[in-house]
């Protein structure tokens, strides 16, 4: 396993401290405020769940298709240091923290599921951090895996750039957890995804998870443009399918680098050697800077052709925050709405993993409730 940086842990209450192990937990009464997101990565604070943790991943707009995945904000900040990470411009308090009372998170999920029993929920814990990077210390993913096993119509997605999977391998997940990787060619991992697991380590972890029977997710997002991108991304696809079977994949997403305009300066400041923020990009109608569309189309076309030569038809292949016309040009179709894409997920998962989807709502229901 990748050696994670040594992180001192503090906790908010005695019960949370006890849960972490007396020898490493220090009890403090107030979450420290750390304005520097990098300094915040050097300690881990375990806190009680406060307010609402359940949310929708992206801001839903009219121009770009969102997959409508739900998120559970269970960790904040991350020990890794990716040059393109939006957290560097997002967190007002950079103190790395995790919710310690997992049962409160699960209660909130249960309530949400009860409100829409017809709906199939994909729920990820990666909105503000990495789902597995801290697992050895917090045991949060393991508790969630066990809880999701018994939740109807919901699947947990643990998305990571780590290889911290050993503690979840023996769990009885019941096909209700998808372990997924955000993945890029080795050059990008080495140059831009600092402190994350190497490609080889991620692939090795992927194999372990496949052997443990977990459905796997892949997120080629953000795809990054550089002179050798095409050969490197093709090689990456080959490396992945030399390691795992395409049949083990629940879903695969593809998306290109994008960020808020104010991020550009932050990236240049925080990562002076990085070149990725100054490529040929424009400001889109959703307020995000992204590669110009002809460049994106060129990248997607080549990448998808290669990827499609491997993929199982029941695997959901989708773009993350891409235009309807880009879907059409690359995949030959586009979902007619965000609700439609959400429905496609439910339908395909129902067939591939019957345990995941017990009740299937209609397309109309998904579309009518796509904003909730």
């Amino acid at each position: 396993m990748t050696k994670q940086p040594s992180i001192p842990i503090s906790a908010e209450t005695p019960s949370l401290a006890k849960k972490l192990g007396k020898e490493k937990a220090t009890i403090t009464t107030k979450k420290p405020i750390e304005k520097d997101y990098r300094k915040g990565k050097k300690s881990l604070y375990i806190e009680e769940k406060k307010g609402t943790s359940f949310d929708t991943c992206a801001t839903i707009g009219n121009e770009y298709v969102c997959c409508n995945v739900k998120v559970l904000k269970s960790v904040t900040n991350c020990p890794f240091d990716c040059s393109y990470c939006f957290l560097q411009n997002y967190l007002t308090n950079g103190t790395m923290s995790a919710v310690g009372d997992t049962e409160s998170l699960i209660e909130e999920v249960k309530q949400r599921l009860e409100e829409q029993p017809w709906r199939f929920f994909r729920i990820g814990t990666w909105e503000l951090g990495d789902s597995l990077a801290l697992e050895k210390d917090i045991n949060q993913a393991s508790e969630l895996i066990m809880a999701f096993k018994n939740l109807p119509n919901a699947v947990l997605e643990l998305k990571t750039k780590s290889d911290c999977v050993d503690t979840i391998l023996d769990l009885d997940h019941g096909n209700k957890t998808v372990v997924s990787w955000s993945i890029n060619p080795a050059k990008i991992i080495n140059e831009q995804e600092h402190k994350t697991a190497t490609l080889q380590k991620r692939l090795a972890a992927m194999k372990k998870v496949e052997d443990a029977g977990y459905p796997i997710g892949l997120h080629f997002d953000p795809m990054i443009y550089y002179p050798e991108w095409e050969a490197d991304y093709h090689e990456l696809i080959d490396q992945i399918f030399d390691t795992i079977s395409p049949k083990s994949l629940a879903w695969v997403s593809v998306g290109s680098l994008r960020f808020n305009p104010e991020m550009k300066q932050k990236m240049a400041l925080n990562f002076p050697k990085s070149y990725i923020h100054s490529q040929e990009m424009i400001l889109g109608p959703d307020g995000k800077i992204r590669y110009v569309k002809p460049l994106r189309l060129n990248m997607y076309k080549s990448f998808m052709k290669k990827l499609n030569s491997y993929l199982d038809p029941q695997t959901v292949l989708y773009f993350c925050m891409e235009r309807f016309d880009v879907w059409e040009k690359i995949l030959g179709y586009s979902p007619r709405s965000i609700g439609h894409l959400d429905y496609i997920f439910a339908d395909k998962m129902r067939i591939k993993y019957p345990e995941m989807v017990e009740t299937m709502g209609s397309l109309e229901m998904y579309e009518a409730h796509q904003d909730s």
Binding site: E63, Q265, E280, I282, G284, V292, K293, P294, R323
Partner: protein, 336 residues
């Protein structure tokens, strides 16, 4: 605050044993050639020099800008206010609080730099401590936790700071350009000398050049060579500036702007060129025009018909209904 008026001679400042024991003359000389000496700071702002006695009993200057004004005015003698029985910090704060104009960003940079250079340690106060006392008065809250960031700005060359001062750059704008290679700034300044550009254009150009250097992994020399190969060099601009009495910047710098845009957005440039050619091929009629999103992000186009008569309108419709025209329109649509 107690004070007394004392008279001071310029020569006093040039001697180490002078009344003012001004160890910081070198820095003050620097200030003399700073933007503050360019005449932008009028003497009405701070019209009298203030001095105080430091912990060693030496008199020191509180408001260096005034010194510049006095030197500029070539007066042999000038009056000073000597503040009595107050600490350096009290004097500084009092002086700043009674100062009736907001200092420009460049002035603040120089001022803070001058204070850091000359009073920290000597006055047994840390930079952070000093800054903490002053940032509210100087309206530098943005640098509250990081005074060193402000200090970094003083590393910019005087030429650049002079330009920033003349264009009234904000601290944020100065901070922005301070992160860029000085060669880029000097290059755009050399253009600005010949064909003056606004602050916003200056910032836009330096940022775009910086992006190009990162995008292509180029050095500044490679960039300048490229621009010269493509028909733009500052020597050419010199010729223009010598032959023309009045400049028209949009025309004079159009080659530069076009080449910069072409370089930065090469894919888009080529893509738009293809669409442009297709549109030209289609709209032989001047009464039909097509506009599209030149960022190539939003698909589709808007087609406008200009008709002054029924005949005009019918002619346009006829053109649009023509199968050959329609084929061309579809081809344009597919491209966008």
């Amino acid at each position: 605050m107690e004070f007394k008026i004392v008279k001071l001679k310029i020569e006093d400042l040039n001697s180490d044993n002078s009344l003012f024991s001004c160890e910081s003359l070198r820095e003050l000389t620097t200030l003399n050639s700073s933007p503050l000496q360019t005449g932008k700071l009028e003497s009405s702002k701070i019209d009298i020099l203030w001095v105080y006695k430091d912990v060693n009993g030496y008199q020191r200057i509180v408001n260096p800008f005034c010194l510049n004004d006095n030197i500029r005015s070539n007066e042999e003698n000038f009056s000073c206010i000597e503040l009595l029985g107050y600490s350096f910090l009290d004097c500084l704060k009092f002086q700043l609080q009674t100062y009736d104009h907001e200092l420009t960003a460049v002035e603040k940079i120089y001022y803070i730099s001058w204070i850091f250079e000359n009073f920290v340690n000597k006055e047994k106060i840390s930079k952070e401590g000093l800054f903490k006392e002053l940032y509210h008065i100087l309206n530098l809250q943005a640098f509250n936790h990081r005074p060193e960031k402000l200090k970094k700005l003083t590393r910019l060359s005087k030429t650049i700071l002079s330009y920033c001062h003349s264009k009234k750059f904000s601290l944020k704008q100065i901070q922005l350009i301070s992160q860029l290679d000085e060669d880029i700034l000097n290059y755009v300044l050399s253009i600005n000398k010949l064909v003056p550009v606004s602050a916003s254009i200056f910032i836009q150009w330096v940022q775009t050049i910086n992006d190009c250097l990162v995008q292509y992994s180029w050095s500044m020399e490679t960039f300048v060579d490229y621009m010269e190969t493509e028909g733009f060099n500052t020597n050419k601009l010199t010729t223009i500036s010598e032959t023309k009495k009045e400049f028209t910047p949009p025309i004079d710098t159009s080659i530069f702007k076009d080449e910069l845009k072409k370089l930065r957005y090469k894919t888009l440039y080529d893509y738009n060129k293809v669409i442009e050619d297709k549109v030209k091929d289609f709209t032989s009629s001047k009464d039909i025009s097509i506009k599209w999103d030149e960022r190539c992000e939003t698909p589709g186009f808007s087609l406008t018909i200009t008709a002054k008569s029924k005949q005009d309108f019918n002619d346009c419709l006829k053109t649009l209904n023509d199968p050959v025209s329609q084929k061309k329109i579809y081809s344009i649509l597919e491209s966008i």
